[in-house]
Symmetry: C2
Subunit: 625 residues, 2 copies
């Protein structure tokens, strides 16, 4: 790849090595034979394989040829074109202010040059057309995106339907509908009902379709973004790649300050996952950071700008109503959402209703022309557990539910953002209210943090809440890094946040009884029991760390085939003894076991020694066992 | 301190610096004026102070003179002596085999020398006496230990009873009884009922009394231990100090191999927290690691040995019954408890019932002569989520409940150990069964881990389960480090595990509505809202990390008084805008607020501009607000 500008200089550091013992596989569709659904296949040392969900895109495929200056292969381009409802058009002219400069002459030449290979002619819906996946779904159309998702969600789980299947399926789903296998028709029906969302702007054809809904695997989002204070464009692109490597299902670009338009082009053109933004941040930049100076016109122009670039979902704080603002005055931490506080300030300064609310139907018109999904922002979310589930938060939630119905009237896909900071005993209430007030539109929460006392560890305080709310029905969890409340996350912080959230999402899937979840846990446990050390590392979420931690204590290769580990050493190994118990039990006769179960040790001994047969009443065995 | 042997060489590295902006304070008793209850007082920049629970003992008191070769001041010695029911006696002779050597001549001279200052003449109950706290409690006696605990649990919380008190008390306690203030009598009654335990061997007078019960603050335990493969005695002592620094309420010494008797002396003599052990590990060492060779006599001798040293609670796997062993044969991961597998092997090899079960009343006699508490081991706990809440686990739990009643007959304090690996949807069932089957004896769980797929991150997979089971009623949480399943934890791993578990325990306290929990969260949130950066760091669980993370992005001192942070920069700061909203609301008239709440923006504007007064129907405001 070229390294001809300061913006590309660091791109050679993009992480591309595949996971150990893993290869990328692609599954073709039935309805749409031309789709290729990526998965990661892990090769185990016992000859078996394990297929896992893979968000990392072509970056972990050694056969993929990637040139960051030109962007990824637009895999959805032909699907979009084949529907015949879009048109190319000249699009909006990029302005100096889009990148935070006053005049065209202020824009660095290097920035413009670096953008060259990534500029695209935008698409939009033809006049009178609606290109949202919800619209197609409601027409009864199964799009390639939908079939792609059905295959992707299943992860070849039909191959692991086995004797332990029933045990795995026993969960508590709190009303979620988790079919044993996902069909393309199921995906369509869920999207049509608004219970699931496929974020896929027609101007982001590079993305691999994924779905957000409580009847599917719980997803996670990673926030990245430059800042007025630190970071560079190159760092941000690698953060996106790095985020998807560790399981980020979507990425939000929360950049502010200089070069944000260009940053967004770089990220979207190179992203295999949907990208979300908060357009208000850029709109505010365009009015020099003065909330009162925001106008519908500036905001609308920003929506168009970002829709043309390919942003897949917009956080829009349309529920921060004027009458809710005074409700926050008595809070311990007031308004903590950036978007929420900006709109609150605007409302108070003008004594007018939030313009995002009053122009909501016009926003819907834009959303459906590009298939941008709403992520209705929770501008009044609590910023401390003291403020959780209060009047301000719940009033806004009710308004978001009303807006959802307006969006659905336009066949615009919609998810609802949620908190934040919520103590454990208030999480279920929050989830239940969201399902009720927002008509089962997918919930997308930040954490929630379950205590406020651990800055530096908020990936953990919030993973607890995230796992619980995911179990209760949240469809996507926005990660929190260890730097939350303190500073900007670096590469390691991003990974720590993602790992905590992959754990939370998976724990939620398991607890729901999702048919495509627990087989991975069971594969790990079997590898543990059989001392297949390399498999234990490779089945896990972070093979490198697992092996490194193991090697800190027992570095030699021989330890990786040893039938013991460093915790107990060879003499004490419980797994080893347990295997002996199993072997012993295998040798026991049926009646010997029965006698043991009935508490008759002497008889059992007799069976063993004599091989004799007597009968023990079955009811007595069951009662005692 | 002396550094005259290889066992002391590293002791100069014992961590003793106090926490920033913190000082150790001591509160005297009313009933027992000579007790001095330690707490940590954090000085805030706004002139207020915050008192927090402090497990770190004299190590964080700069005025404390500590000589590790002589042990800590035996603060409980006079209380114990004053009861007049104990006697000194010669005690058991320390044998070479206690330290893992074959002959006396094999024991290194340096080891013996290092032990000199730490040898004590043991105490035991006089003939016919019972020195357990449960026994005193049932006689109606409020011991100094009980008053100490009442003061300690309260943490001067009467000083933070304020306007927000009621909001903080609204939790879901699932039947736990959480009085607003803990009285010495409440402590006594809980211990008498068996719902709480005070682990305090009369031979460990150095320990600061603490309590384990679901009507008190949730506690955490850290496991430390040497190993046949790595580590030294010096490392283990510092691990204990390090563990208590970061909040470990008790420490379990799980050492095996060489020098374990000496290691235990060093740890106990220098430990301000109760020490637990699994005597079976040492007993097995004494029979060269061959489970079949274990005898009641060897085991009994080990109990006496450790009781004389001052171990405060013993994990005893008396519930692994012969008839339960075959129930584990079909499990995914068999028996994963070391103690459980050792006893299972012994039972099968001899075709006899577990000798810990058959000799249980004899064990009770030993326990009450020293006030060692039972921690009834869950030898059949699940080692994977696939095996959670199965027949083997629940059968053993029922037996532990029966043994609890036998222990209580002897006035012996008892807690019950629990799993392990449990998916979220099975945690509540496990807790409820424990309360029922074990008659509300305190539950002490390891995690549980809520998924098996994240080796390297099991402090997080398990903190999720720990927080939940703590909320539901577990009294103490045994920590899990990131090295779980992989290797031996180092210093940083121990800290990571403790932080995850302090978070879990505190999140549980908050969710229960514990009156002594949420004031710390609220103090943090207020510091956040008021941009008191130093207070945010210092109120948190790990001030050093919080400040270091903050400084990575904004290192200058000026940033610590800035009214913005690195996440948003000065222009976007939501907290700053929020403060403006609050100031604005403060300036509003009552009727202006009412009109806003009623959705009448124009009227509100009119109020502001004209200062006029009209009345809005109260019911309409309430309905809309």
């Amino acid at each position: 790849m070229t390294q001809n500008t300061k913006y590309t200089a660091e791109h050679s550091e993009i992480t591309r090595n595949p996971f150990p013992a893993s290869k990328k596989i692609y599954i073709a569709g039935d309805i749409h034979p031309n789709i290729r659904v990526p998965m990661r296949e892990i090769e185990l040392t016992n000859g078996q394989t394990l297929t896992v969900y893979d968000t990392s895109g072509p970056y972990t495929d050694p056969n993929a040829d990637i040139d960051l200056t030109q962007g990824l292969t637009p895999i959805r381009q032909v699907w979009i074109a084949a529907r015949g409802d879009v048109e190319e058009y000249e699009g909006r002219q990029t302005l100096a202010v889009d990148n935070g400069y006053k005049r065209e002459t202020d824009v660095p030449g290097a920035l413009l040059k670096a953008e060259q290979g990534l500029k695209r002619t935008p698409l939009r819906a033809k006049t009178g057309k609606n290109v949202s996946q919800m619209h197609y779904a409601r027409q009864g159309i199964i799009t390639p995106e939908m079939e792609f998702i059905a295959i992707r969600e299943n992860q070849r789980r039909q191959e692991v339907i086995d004797a332990e299947r029933e045990a795995r399926l026993k969960g508590e789903s709190f009303g979620a509908n988790l079919p044993e296998l996902i069909t393309p028709e199921f995906v369509r029906a869920e999207v049509a009902a608004g219970r699931a969302v496929i974020p896929c702007n027609i101007n982001h054809p590079e993305s691999e379709p994924m779905i957000i809904g409580r009847n599917f695997l719980v997803k996670i989002n990673a926030n990245i973004g430059n800042s007025a204070i630190t970071s560079s464009i190159a760092e941000e692109v690698e953060k996106m790649v790095w985020s998807t490597r560790w399981g980020g299902d979507t990425v939000m670009d929360l950049s502010t300050g200089k070069n944000i338009h260009a940053t967004r082009d770089w990220i979207i053109r190179n992203s295999p996952v949907p990208i979300g933004t908060v357009p208000l941040y850029q709109a505010l930049e365009k009015v020099n950071g003065i909330a009162e100076d925001l106008t519908w016109e500036v905001y609308r122009d920003t929506l168009i700008e970002q829709a043309e670039q390919g942003v897949d979902y917009f956080t829009i704080h349309a529920g921060v109503l004027l009458r809710y603002v005074p409700m926050t005055a008595k809070r311990v931490t007031g308004i903590v959402s950036r978007g929420g506080s900006i709109m609150a300030k605007w409302c108070l300064a003008h004594h007018k209703e939030n313009f995002l609310y009053t122009h909501f139907e016009e926003i819907c018109e834009i959303m459906k022309a590009y298939d941008v999904s709403f992520s209705l922002g929770d501008g009044l979310r609590p910023g401390s557990i003291a403020d959780a589930n209060d009047e301000a938060q719940l009033s806004e939630l009710q308004t978001l539910g009303e807006l959802t119905q307006i969006a659905w009237k336009h066949d615009v896909q919609t998810i609802i953002e949620g908190p934040g900071h919520v103590p454990m005993h208030k999480i279920k209430e929050n989830m239940d209210l969201q399902l009720k007030l927002c008509h089962e539109a997918p919930f997308y929460t930040l954490g929630p943090l379950t205590t406020d006392i651990a800055p530096g560890y908020d990936h953990i305080t919030s993973a607890i809440g995230a796992a619980m709310i995911g179990w209760y029905g949240t469809a996507m969890l926005c990660y929190v890094t260890p730097k939350e409340h303190l500073g900007l996350p670096n590469r390691e912080d991003v990974k720590e946040g993602l790992m905590a959230y992959k754990i939370a999402a998976h724990a939620a899937d398991v607890a729901k009884g999702h048919p495509g979840a627990r087989y991975r846990d069971d594969a790990m446990s079997k590898a543990r029991f059989e001392f297949r050390w390399m498999d234990q590392f490779n089945i896990g979420l972070d093979p490198e760390r697992a092996m490194a931690y193991h090697d800190e204590t027992l570095p030699r290769d021989s330890a990786k085939v040893a039938h013991f580990c460093s915790m107990c050493g060879p003499k004490f190994c419980s797994m080893k003894i347990s295997q002996e118990v199993r072997d012993y039990a295998d040798q026991m006769g049926v009646d010997e076991k029965a006698a043991l179960a009935a508490g008759m040790a002497e008889q059992a001994k007799a069976f063993k020694e004599l091989g004799s047969e007597i009968s023990v009443p079955v009811d007595k065995i069951q009662k005692l066992a």
